[in-house]
């Protein structure tokens, strides 16, 4: 099977991406497609070589090998079904996540992109990101992915300390990681992101800052700092429970986070989201869509999506989850064309709550203009302007409400979840004042 289209398109895209980048904004020029007909696409590759000790994602270690052709056909089918269901005219970004999507063949990636391009407009400069695991992605393979249409890589580097990598159950070493990073930067200059974890058991502030400084000498223009969260059901959780591994110290993690973001600011990175840092405008448009509550389709086992099923004549956005287990998911896709397991309509208030919770994760927060796209009657001032509690947060220097909109201060961003416990109930209160909930039975 020859796929000249995507491949050619991919090369062009990579070239264009290297020249000039778009500022991260899903509200960019509409080019004739209304926002309701645009969507980001997430594709889930459910397999890994090995389970990482901390990961509780929907991933599987295939024992008998993966029937990739069958999986590919199902991914393509589901993408087609969901694009049609959403009445999506234009796809602004594609993200291959997992699992370990770099274990998939470039051919599968190409097939997906081709399928999207068949039914929707996939602009040449659309961001197409692939999550990459350092060991599974030698330089030659990365080039093939590029040829298939990928124009951005996100490398799960996690740590530059081999002992920590071992604790995390990663298959790569620090050297592997740096080698992969260098190869990626050669192939996708300015379009490579790396993940670094903080708050690991036993991790100390000084050495961790050392790692971050070393990473700054090697990294590209995008970096994510993630605090480890111990998830029930993971091997690491069990180890900590048993006492085999010291429990992560949240105080220390908070310090690492504070020092780390300060260091990155000095290095010229913009913290455009709680965990994401970019310089030279290298923001991830795909992720930006999540935080701006844009539409996205989720394709693959366990993938999540949020979109209005225009194609089915609906006008309410739905939160959708696909069937988790790859085998069941495939069976459903073959039978029904998709493996959607759960559809939850989001009412107006729920959508606004998401706008609030997600938007405040970004540095620009929620602009008045952005808010108006979701709620035309109640302004941000109407909702939060008169609240004493919100005023107190402002006085504490954690939150700002001004002519630009509502956003966290530098200090406030680190404690956003606490702020939301004031903001969400306030939104609900004002909302129900305006339109009281129906009284049951009355």
């Amino acid at each position: 099977m020859v796929l000249p289209g995507p491949r050619a398109r991919g090369l062009v895209a990579a070239a264009r991406a290297a020249q000039g980048r778009r500022v991260g904004s899903a509200e960019g020029s509409p080019r004739g497609d209304p926002a309701s007909r645009r969507a980001a696409l997430y594709v889930h590759w459910p397999y890994c070589e090995k389970r990482c000790s901390y990961c509780n994602f929907n991933k599987y270690v295939a024992r008998g090998g993966v029937d990739e052709a069958a999986l590919r056909r199902c991914l393509v089918t589901e993408a087609h079904t969901l694009l049609a269901l959403g009445g999506v005219h234009r796809v602004d970004s594609v993200f291959f996540g997992g699992g370990t999507p770099s274990l998939a063949s470039p051919h599968t990636v190409a097939a997906l992109l081709e399928a999207v391009a068949q039914v929707a407009h996939l602009p040449a400069d659309s961001e197409v990101t692939l999550e990459v695991n350092p060991t599974s992605a030698p330089g030659s393979r990365l080039a093939e992915f590029g040829a298939a249409g990928v124009n951005r890589l996100s490398i799960g580097l996690q740590s530059l300390d081999d002992a920590e990598l071992q604790l995390l159950g990663r298959t790569h070493s620090a050297r592997d990681a740096l080698r992969t990073l260098a190869a990626a930067r050669r192939l996708f200059p300015g379009r490579v992101s790396v993940d670094l974890m903080l708050g690991l058991p036993g991790q100390q502030l000084g050495p961790w800052l050392g790692q971050l400084r070393e990473l700054l000498r090697h990294c590209d223009d995008h970096l994510s700092l993630y605090q480890l969260s111990l998830e029930r059901g993971t091997a690491l959780f069990a180890q900590v429970q048993r006492g085999a591994v010291p429990a992560p110290d949240p105080e220390l993690a908070a310090e690492m986070y504070a020092e780390g973001r300060a260091l990155l600011r000095t290095a010229g990175f913009r913290q455009y989201e709680v965990s994401n840092f970019a310089r030279r405008g290298a923001l991830s448009t795909h992720n930006w869509t999540y935080w701006q509550c844009g539409q996205y389709l989720g394709v693959g086992p366990g993938a999540h999506g949020r979109f209005v099923p225009h194609g089915a004549g609906c006008h309410t956005r739905e939160a959708r989850i696909q069937t988790l287990e790859p085998d069941n998911w495939m069976r459903e896709v073959i039978q029904f064309g998709h493996g959607t397991r759960k559809r939850v309509p989001l009412d107006e208030l729920e959508l606004l709550e998401e706008v609030l919770a997600m938007g405040l994760r970004t540095d620009v927060g929620i602009t008045h203009q952005h808010w108006r796209q979701f709620e035309s009657q109640l302004t941000l001032w109407d909702v939060f302007g008169a609240s004493e509690e919100v005023k107190r947060l402002q006085e504490q220097g954690l939150l700002l409400l001004d002519h630009r909109g509502l956003r966290c201060s530098w200090e406030g961003l680190a404690v956003l979840d606490s702020l939301l416990l004031t903001l969400l109930p306030r939104l609900q209160e004002v909302w129900w004042q305006r339109s009281p909930p129906p009284v049951p039975g009355g």
């Binding site: 997430y42 700092l225 993630y226 605090q227 969260s229 949240p250 105080e251 993690a253 908070a254 310090e255 986070y257 504070a258 709680v274 965990s275 992720n287 999540y290 935080w291 996205y296 989720g298 366990g302 993938a303 999540h304 999506g305 949020r306 939160a319 989850i321 939850v344 729920e350 709550e353 998401e354 919770a357 997600m358 994760r361 107190r392 504490q396 954690l398 961003l413 680190a414 404690v415 956003l416 979840d417 606490s418 939301l420 416990l421 969400l424 109930p425």
Partner: protein, 635 residues
């Protein structure tokens, strides 16, 4: 061994006495069907007596005054009062002997569990002695000095008492208090030394004590074992021979003393009455001297011990009447009832119940407020001595400030709430009422009187506006082996008590009497007394302070600022803990697949936050208070 009892006075008025209750474990048993021996008529079950279809009502006119004896049994806790009462009921055929009855008169679950009598019960016994049938009215009294006003009212319906004393323990503090109540009421006192079957019983020693302390000749003591029934018959004979019949007049217009009242869900208030003059029957119009309300009598009868309707009640007799009273405050203990159009001089000694211990009561969860409210309302229907004021606390939300006769009364009330109404409450540390003589003209105008009573510490007026504060005091009696006398005197002094009396009641036991400020002894005095002998560490403030701080720290969620938790005695900080501010509280990864879960979590947390109570800027979960308060009460 340690006991404390007494009577109190404040500015000349008899107020609240204080005492303690030792736990006595009696398993609740199914109630045997009582039988009415004298009339050879059997009743099945509880409170059936008044139901329709009964045979002829007993004619009470055949008991002339000279054949009537009204008496009470008084005793220290656990000296066997209720057991003796059971034996007397059996002996007179009032209850069935074969069923191995246990304390028939203690009806409430809490009474049986604690081995105390909260609500006085009364029984009319019909007893044949030397060919003559006597009507012996046993008027049971609450066993605890918290209820001494009730005791005194019950006693005023009697002409004599059985003073029961444990042959093993001898005179105890409450024996003394009860004796003086009876003595002041000029009643005949028959000392009964109980439990002579016990191995260590020393009835002779007790006889000596009785002679020394009460000035009653040794030969007047009756030695019995209520448990085995030994010599109980002679108690009944003594009642007939040594207690005079009531001095009353059947011909005079009705004068009846209300000495107890209970509330029945179906029949309203059932008032227990003792007739001093006249007679009363169904259809009579009666008036309460206290409320001046008029009622029509629906039913009269005797108690044996359940209600047994009779045609009439006559002077000198004791029984009950039902007259359409809707709550127990309409039939207050000590009130006098008389016939409409025939007003009489009310019987002396009536007082409205006067609560002396106040505590805040709050639902553990504010959503339980209404349930608790209705439970309190129902329970107070049956206990007019509990006062209820609405109150609210910054920490605990809406609740009430309840007034009780004493600490035991409070505990019993709380236990009944839990047992009978299945509610769970937070009780704050009890306080006593204070009086303030105001000096500020403005305040006097505001309160409309110069002397005010303060039941809530939060409303204490500033001392710049007060000429004088007054506090309730009680006369306490302590009986102790003499080796502890020194320590106890030091303790009493530390509690601002004034010694009134000291005497050896036998070779090695001392009776002390002190005038105590009630506030000094209301919470933990008894514990302190006990700790003197059991060697508790006395200075526990530091460790208690530390524990409370730690508990509070563990139950406070972290907030956006640092919270200092300090324990202080006055202005001296004795313990400190810090709840650090959140430096980071934000989900690290929040992408497409994380949103649903994150929103759910945030909403749950926001819901939880709504349940927090804001104190200043600090959000405090309600269970934090419960945890801290529990710590205190466990100490």
């Amino acid at each position: 061994m340690w006991t404390l009892a007494g009577r109190g006075c404040r500015r000349g008025r008899v107020l609240l006495p204080w005492g303690t209750g030792a736990a006595r474990s009696e398993l609740p048993r199914p109630r045997p069907a009582p039988s009415f021996g004298a009339a050879a008529e059997c009743w099945a079950g509880d409170r059936l007596c008044s139901s329709a279809g009964r045979k002829e009502k007993p004619d009470m006119s055949k008991f002339p005054v000279e054949d009537i004896r009204n008496f009470s049994i008084i005793a220290h806790v656990d000296h066997g009062k209720s057991t003796l009462a059971d034996r007397l009921l059996e002996l007179t055929g009032t209850i069935d002997k074969t069923k191995n009855n246990k304390q028939v008169l203690d009806k409430l679950q809490v009474e049986r569990e604690r081995g105390i009598t909260v609500k006085a019960q009364t029984a009319s016994l019909f007893y044949n002695f030397e060919g003559k049938q006597y009507l012996l009215n046993l008027i049971d009294t609450p066993g605890h000095v918290d209820f001494s006003y009730e005791v005194s009212r019950s006693l005023s319906a009697c002409q004599g008492v059985l003073l029961v004393i444990d042959a093993n323990e001898g005179i105890q503090a409450q024996t003394v208090a009860n004796f003086f109540l009876a003595f002041e009421a000029q009643l005949s006192v028959i000392p009964v030394i109980n439990k002579i079957d016990l191995k260590n019983a020393d009835p002779e020693m007790v006889e000596k004590q009785i002679e020394k302390v009460f000035d009653i000749p040794r030969n007047e003591c009756i030695k019995i074992s209520a448990k085995l029934g030994t010599n109980v018959e002679s108690v009944l004979q003594a009642v007939i021979e040594r207690i005079p019949p009531p001095k009353v007049h059947r011909k005079n217009p009705l004068r009846a003393l209300v000495f107890d009242s209970i509330f029945d869900q179906y029949r309203g208030v059932i008032a227990n009455v003792a007739l001093f003059d006249g007679m009363v029957s169904k259809g009579d119009k009666i008036v309460s001297a206290h409320t001046q309300k008029t009622y029509e009598v629906n039913e009269v009868g005797v108690l044996n011990p359940n209600e047994q309707p009779t045609l009439k009640l006559y002077a000198g007799q004791v029984g009950y009447l039902i007259a359409g009273m809707k709550d127990v405050t309409e039939a207050q203990i000590g009130d006098t009832l008389y016939l409409h159009n025939h007003p009489v001089e009310p019987l002396p000694g009536f007082k409205s119940a006067k609560p002396m211990v106040f505590a805040g009561m709050y639902p553990t969860d504010q959503s339980e407020y209404n349930n608790l409210k209705s439970a309190i309302e129902k329970l107070t229907l049956n206990d007019s001595s509990v006062t209820v004021h609405r109150d609210s606390s910054l920490a605990l939300g809406a609740g009430w400030r309840l007034g009780f006769l004493g600490l035991l009364h409070m505990e019993v009330f709380n236990q009944r709430l839990e047992q009978e109404y299945n509610t769970s409450v937070i009780l704050t540390t009890p306080t006593v009422p204070y009086k303030a003589i105001l000096s500020s003209a403005k305040l006097i105008k505001e309160y409309r009187e110069k002397e005010i009573t303060i039941i809530n510490p939060a409303q204490f007026p500033d001392k710049s506006k007060v000429a004088e504060y007054l506090e309730p005091v009680v006369l306490g009696t302590i009986i102790t082996p003499d080796e502890y006398t020194g320590k106890i005197m030091a303790l009493c002094q530390a509690r601002r008590a004034v010694q009134k009396h000291l005497m050896f009641i036998d070779q090695n036991r001392v009776m002390l009497k002190y005038l105590f400020p009630l506030n000094e002894i209301v919470v933990d005095f008894y514990d302190s007394l006990k700790s003197l002998s059991s060697g508790y560490a006395r200075e526990k403030a530091y460790s208690v302070g530390k524990t409370i701080c730690e508990r509070l720290k563990d139950s406070l969620p972290r907030q956006l600022f640092e919270i200092a938790i300090q324990a202080a005695i006055g202005s001296k900080i004795i313990a400190r803990e810090t709840v650090k501010a959140y430096k980071k509280n934000v989900l690290a990864k929040c992408y497409g697949g994380d949103i649903t879960r994150k929103m759910k979590l945030l909403k749950r947390q926001a819901e939880g936050k709504k349940k927090l109570r804001k104190i200043g800027n600090i959000e405090v979960p309600k269970d934090a208070f419960i945890k801290v308060l529990k710590t205190q009460s466990n100490k």
